[in-house]
Structure formats: structure tokens, C-alpha cells
């Protein structure tokens, strides 16, 4: 059994493009999923029963489904539902955003809730307006609690982008497996794939640790 590790070097451009796509997917998804998460959290915290329950249903639904299934489902259902042809990339983004928004909604809701009452009352008692209290007291503190969780969600998202390979989106996993199929260099390509994810993911994991240490809340 001979191994030819040069295939990795030969195909480095494609692999790097795949890695770039992975990063791109992560960034764009997060950019969309954060506002969506905030909206969902506010809906949940609102006094309107309808909004609150709608948000709850959405969040519970997408948090209790495997992402790979959501991806497949989106791939088949979205074109039919909207009567438009979606590219695989759009579908992938849609599925990822739906999934991550649900987690973010919980993160934002828990973060805001963990501060709300006592701090808000104390701020109001000092004479601040509701708006001032929210922006100067509640949100800054909530942000400290939310940031570490968001960082962890980011890393999960980064890894989950690999799943969109099943609908042929050209991120790192798909690219590596395509090259494997073309060159029949299974061990080399799969190891390269793992190594590339490791190179990108390990520093991110350490960064998340740092964020948790820095912003971890000690009551």
C-alpha cells in the first residue's frame, strides 16, 4: 500500500478555496443568524402570547432536529414552497441560518433574562428611564454573558458547515471528498481534510476558551 501525499500539494488551490468557502459560510450565516436570534428572543420575551409562542415553537422545532436532515429538507422543499430554483449554496445558507438562529434565540433570551429584574429595578430606582436602563445596565451585562455562548455556537457552526457537502456545496469537506473520488487517494485526502479543519479549528477553540475566561461571569 503506497501513499502519495503530493496530491495534497497538487490540489492545494482547490482545498484552499474549499476552506475559504467554509469560512465564508460560517461568517455569512452568523451575520444573518445573530439578528434573527435577537428578533426571536425579543418575540419570546414580548407580552404578546402569539409572538411568544410562535418564537417558542420555531426555536424548539429547530433545536430538536438533526441539521443534516434540515439541509436535505430545505433542498427539496424550499424550491417547491417558493416556486423558485435555489442554488445549493442558498439552500445551505437557509438551512444553517434557520438552525443557528434557533440556538441564538435561546442564548439571547437566557442572557437578557439572567440580568433583567434586579438590575433593571435598581437602575430605575436610581431614576434612569427604561431605555437608559436597558442600554446602560442590562444590555452591557447581558452582552458579557452572551458573548461566550455565541463564541461556542460559532465553533459549532464552523464544524456544521461540513454537512452542506451532502448537497454539493463546494466547501472544504465536499472539495476534499471530490478530490478523493477523482484521485482515489483516500487516506491522503481524508487526512488532509482533517488536518485543514484542525488548523482552522484549533486556534478558534483556543480563542473561545480565552473568551470564556475573560468574560466568564463570577457571581
Amino acid at each position: 500500500m503506497t501513499f502519495d501525499w503530493s496530491v495534497i500539494w497538487t490540489h492545494r488551490d482547490a482545498l484552499l478555496q474549499g476552506a475559504a468557502m467554509t469560512v465564508g459560510l460560517t461568517v455569512v450565516t452568523m451575520l444573518l443568524a445573530v439578528p434573527c436570534g435577537i428578533v426571536l428572543a425579543l418575540m419570546r420575551l414580548s407580552s404578546s402570547r402569539l409572538l411568544s409562542n410562535a418564537s417558542l415553537a420555531f426555536v424548539e422545532f429547530f433545536r430538536n432536529l438533526p441539521l443534516i436532515l434540515v439541509i436535505y429538507w430545505a433542498f427539496y422543499v424550499l424550491p417547491i414552497a417558493f416556486n423558485v430554483e435555489f442554488s445549493a449554496l442558498t439552500t445551505a445558507l437557509a438551512a444553517l441560518v434557520l438552525n443557528v438562529s434557533a440556538y441564538n434565540a435561546e442564548t439571547f433570551r437566557a442572557g437578557i433574562n439572567s440580568i433583567r429584574k434586579g438590575q433593571l429595578e435598581a437602575a430605575l430606582a436610581v431614576g434612569m428611564s427604561r431605555r437608559q436602563a436597558m442600554f446602560k445596565v442590562v444590555i452591557p451585562q447581558a452582552a458579557r454573558r452572551i458573548l461566550p455562548v455565541l463564541a461556542s455556537t460559532w465553533i459549532s457552526l464552523f464544524k456544521d458547515t461540513s454537512l452542506v457537502s451532502v448537497i454539493a456545496v463546494g466547501e472544504l469537506a465536499y472539495t476534499a471528498m471530490q478530490i478523493r473520488a477523482q484521485t482515489f487517494r483516500v487516506l491522503e485526502m481524508l487526512t488532509a481534510m482533517a488536518a485543514l479543519y484542525w488548523l482552522m479549528g484549533y486556534p478558534q477553540a483556543k480563542l473561545v476558551d480565552w473568551i470564556h475566561k475573560k468574560y466568564g461571569v463570577k457571581e
Binding site: 500500500m1 424548539e60 422545532f61 433545536r63 430538536n64 432536529l65 438533526p66 441539521l67 443534516i68 436532515l69 434540515v70 436535505y72 429538507w73 427539496y76 422543499v77 417547491i80 465553533i155 464544524k159 456544521d160 458547515t161 461540513s162 454537512l163 457537502s165 451532502v166 469537506a173 471528498m177 483516500v186 487516506l187 481524508l190 487526512t191 481534510m193 482533517a194 479543519y197 484542525w198 482552522m200 479549528g201 484549533y202 478558534q204 477553540a205 483556543k206
Partner: protein, 221 residues
């Protein structure tokens, strides 16, 4: 748009079999992950000095690499190195355990470290040995505190089994793909399977929440 759920009804046995594999794979990997996680956490907390960085490296690596990547590597690449092949189910089990055990280890380490040092002191003052303290004072309390996280491990395992479809493990997701492909009714099939997964996952998270609420006071020192 016409809706036709007949492929689901005709093939219900096929799906039921898939669900069985999903449940089996999830439960077994959850158990192996928890056991491995406990061993790793204890190794990290109480083991020899050289072991610690090794375990930390392993844990951090699993945080960086997607489970899909571990899965295909174990199934396709490992046999080329070691000369042994895994049947898909076992490859999936190994891969899932490798991946989830890292998370479980972190959870358990946090759980054990969250027990007040006063508890250890009180047990030492009675004359207990370190091993006794771990078994009788620390772990029982830590286990209760970690119940929600154990639930997470189980839900993680259930969701990750769906990824095993890429190496043709005959679990529910794979069955869905097969029927959807053959019947040309992907919308109905995937929607129904979505509901099925939800019906499995939702009670698990809710059940764990309930159980924890009942028992939480036993873990509060």
C-alpha cells in the same frame, strides 16, 4: 402540488427498522461517550502529569474537527492504515464516541470541579480516603448537577447518528433518503421524518429538564 404520503405508509416497516438502528446507535454511543468521558475527566483531574496535555490535546482536537470528518476518516481511511475494516455501524459508533466523549469529558470535569472544596474537607476530616471521597461524596453530587448535560450528550448522539447516513448506516436518515429517491416524493418523506426526529428528541430534552428539577437539591451543597 399534490401530496402523496403513500410511500411512507407502504414502507413503514422499512422506516421502523431505520428508527430502531437510530435508537440503538444513539443510546450505545451516548453510553460509551459518557464512560469514556468520565475516564478522560478523571485522568485529567487526578492522573499523572504527562497525561494531562495529551488529554487536553485530544479534547481540543475534537472541538476543531467536524464529526463528519471523523466519521469518514474512521470508515474509509483507517482501514488503509491498519488493515482492518469496520462495518458501517461500528465505524459510526467509534467515530461518534471519539467525538462526543471529548464534550462529555469537559462537562464532567466542570461538574466535578463545581463541588465546593468544603465538601472534600469535611470528608477528609472524617478520615475518608481520596478514592472514597470521589466515589461517595463528589461523584454523586456531580452526577446530579450534570444531568442536563447528560441529556445534551444523548440529544447530540441522536442528531449525530443522522450523519452516519453518509457511510450508509441503515438508520432513519438513510432510510429516508432511499425511499425519497425511489418514490420521487422527497417533500413528504423528509417532512415526515422531520416530525419523527422531533418526536424522539423533544421528549428527551423535556424529560431531562423535568428530572433535573426534581433532583437538583440533592446536588446543591
Amino acid at each position: 402540488m399534490d401530496i402523496d404520503f403513500s410511500p411512507l405508509i407502504e414502507n413503514w416497516r422499512f422506516f421502523a427498522g431505520g428508527l430502531g438502528v437510530t435508537v440503538a446507535l444513539s443510546v450505545i454511543s451516548a453510553l460509551t461517550s459518557l464512560l469514556a468521558g468520565l475516564a478522560i475527566a478523571l485522568g485529567r483531574l487526578y492522573g499523572p502529569g504527562w497525561l494531562r496535555p495529551v488529554l487536553v490535546f485530544y479534547i481540543d482536537t475534537m472541538r476543531a474537527i467536524p464529526v463528519l470528518v471523523v466519521l469518514v476518516w474512521i470508515y474509509f481511511a483507517f482501514p488503509l492504515l491498519a488493515g482492518v475494516t469496520f462495518p458501517p455501524f461500528w465505524a459510526a459508533l467509534v467515530a461518534l464516541t471519539l467525538h462526543i466523549a471529548a464534550y462529555a469529558a469537559e462537562v464532567m470535569r466542570a461538574g466535578i470541579e463545581s463541588i465546593r472544596p468544603g465538601q472534600t474537607r469535611a470528608a477528609l476530616a472524617l478520615g475518608m480516603s481520596r478514592a472514597q471521597i470521589l466515589r461517595k461524596v463528589i461523584l454523586p453530587q456531580a452526577t446530579i448537577r450534570m444531568l442536563p448535560a447528560f441529556g445534551s450528550v444523548l440529544t447530540m448522539a441522536i442528531k449525530d447518528t443522522a450523519i452516519a447516513t453518509v457511510i450508509a448506516v441503515p438508520e432513519l436518515m438513510h432510510r429516508a433518503e432511499t425511499v425519497a429517491g425511489q418514490s420521487y416524493r422527497p417533500v413528504e418523506v423528509y417532512t415526515a421524518v422531520m416530525v419523527a426526529y422531533f418526536c424522539v428528541l423533544f421528549p428527551v430534552t423535556r424529560g431531562v429538564d423535568r428530572l433535573y428539577q426534581r433532583l437538583a437539591h440533592l446536588g446543591r451543597s
